[in-house]
Amino acid sequence: MVVTTRSWSRPGARLAIALLIGSLVLAQIVRPLALVVEALLQRGAEPRTVEVLLLAPLAVTIIVFLRVVVGLDTLGIFAPMLLAIAFLRIGVIEGLLLLAVLVIVCAPCIALIERYRFLAISRTGVVICLVAVTLLIATAVGALVGSASLLEAEVIPLAIMAGVIERFVNAQADQRPEETAKLIFTGVVAALVSLVLANQVLQRALFARPDLLLLSMPACLLMGRYAGLRLLDLLCFREVAARAAR
């Protein structure tokens, strides 16, 4: 058995680089996606849907980077991705605030229920109901206060918020506090990704050259062969490293 010293393992990297070159060729020369997007918009496709589909690969690539290289472990990949898109619509501050409100509402209610024994699945049902009610009230309050942005929120990201809260609350109930960190990271990652996606220069570039999103596939694969330490690992294991360096 060989304990290697390289940070980038070789065999898969070749496939990733091949895909990278292929994507660049497609993006520069053939440009299939540009044609597709144009055709879609001409035929009356909802621009917001097209926007989401174009931004999603970039969002996922950033999330993979934050996970593999930086070390921010989130509650899955879909949650931060769809939350980021929701934050794009309703605003990052509003979104994080909403998540916080949901936690503050749901956690004590579930703690109360947990004093008695019910099936775990009924707990999930209660959480989803609480989330729906809280979101209705929060949207109404937001509209009253003059912040119409919450009205912009779409169903799927809100459903994702419900899922995130449900998982977090279940983890607390089952006494798995380590999931709290994952929840916080999920919010942080969603906020970071949303800030990047909101950049107008980036959006214009993507809409002008939609084929660029093909690059996210080789990017993800390349990161998938990164065997080095993550930034958070450097922090976490610094004492071990200090001892080893002596």
């Binding site: 798995r176 294991f237 080893a244």
Partner: protein
């Protein structure tokens, strides 16, 4: 550059999660065997078929029909576990009988209806990694060997030995605390104590990822302690790892007061905190070990 080489030597000794997954778990642990190790029931069957000591099984409830037929003929103290559970989730330890049912170690009153609900949760996969159907396992309540129980008066301590290609690489003693509700799980507040592999003596202790020198509940010193029957523990872990077919595996061993050494479970994706407990990097350990072999 002295700083650069110090950084490289220092952090080069640490095994991070990316390398663990890419260069150890993926090539060394076949998926089929990982699934076997994830099932406590199948693991126990495999190990005992090879003559290795495991915790006795009182009963296994595999589905709702079996649950309906279950006679609940159990001793006064027992443990109810999800067969596919991970990180100690979903385990209820029952301490004795109480009106209409039992009393848990935490002091919670558990009438039979409540325990039945918990079994249903287990069967529905509430505690299994994949949220898929699972089986419920009843085991007798284990009591720790007296030497170890001194340190952790609450709960069942265990020894996690990380075995690579059949040879022990690092080991740590995991002590439950009141904070961790009697679970040895480090994330929930258990204490991890690194153990010198040759001498079986504790060398370093960590609680909540910070260095510690005494157990938070008993106040007893954690360093320089000699573990009972250490050679047997290490040997058992290595044999269990070999039997499992996994070449990178964490073996959890307990020393029961009556039953002696038992393999509690196998972990095909063992965590990296064992490096914190020993203040030693796995990558350098494995490099040295395999340079020799």
């Amino acid at each position: 550059m002295r700083l650069a080489s110090a950084l490289r030597d220092g952090f080069g000794a640490v095994l991070g999660i990316n390398r663990r997954n890419l260069e150890f778990i993926e090539p060394l642990n076949p998926r089929r065997l990982l699934q076997l190790a994830a099932s406590k029931v199948r693991t126990k069957e495999l190990l005992s078929a090879h003559g290795l000591p495991v915790a006795p099984t009182l009963a296994v409830v595999r589905d709702r029909i079996a649950l309906r037929a279950f006679d609940w003929d159990l001793p006064d103290a027992f443990a109810l576990k999800p067969g596919g559970g991970w990180r100690g989730g979903g385990i209820i330890v029952v301490d004795g009988r109480a009106a209409g049912g039992w009393r848990s170690l935490d002091g919670e009153h558990l009438p039979r209806a409540d325990l039945t609900l918990h079994v249903v949760d287990i069967l529905d996969g509430a505690f299994s990694l994949i949220y898929g159907p699972d089986e419920a396992l009843f085991e007798p309540r284990l009591r720790s060997d007296r030497a170890l129980a001194r340190f952790a008066p609450y709960g069942l301590p265990d020894v996690r030995v990380l075995v690579c290609a059949g040879v022990a690489a690092l080991a740590m003693l995991r002590l439950p605390t009141r904070e961790s509700h009697g679970k040895a799980n480090l994330h929930q507040g258990g204490v991890a104590v690194g153990v010198d592999l040759d001498r079986g003596i504790t060398v370093h202790a960590v609680h909540r990822r910070r260095a510690s020198s005494a157990h938070p509940d008993s106040g007893l010193g954690l360093l320089g302690v000699e573990l009972p029957r250490w050679d047997e523990v290490r040997d058992l872990a290595e044999r269990a790892a070999t039997v499992s077919g996994l070449d990178y595996v964490g073996v959890d061993v307990v020393i029961d007061d009556e039953l002696g050494l038992l393999v509690l479970e196998l972990n095909g994706r063992p965590g990296l905190d064992i490096q914190l407990a020993n203040l030693m990097g796995l990558r350098s350990v494995l490099r040295d070990r395999f340079a020799r072999h």
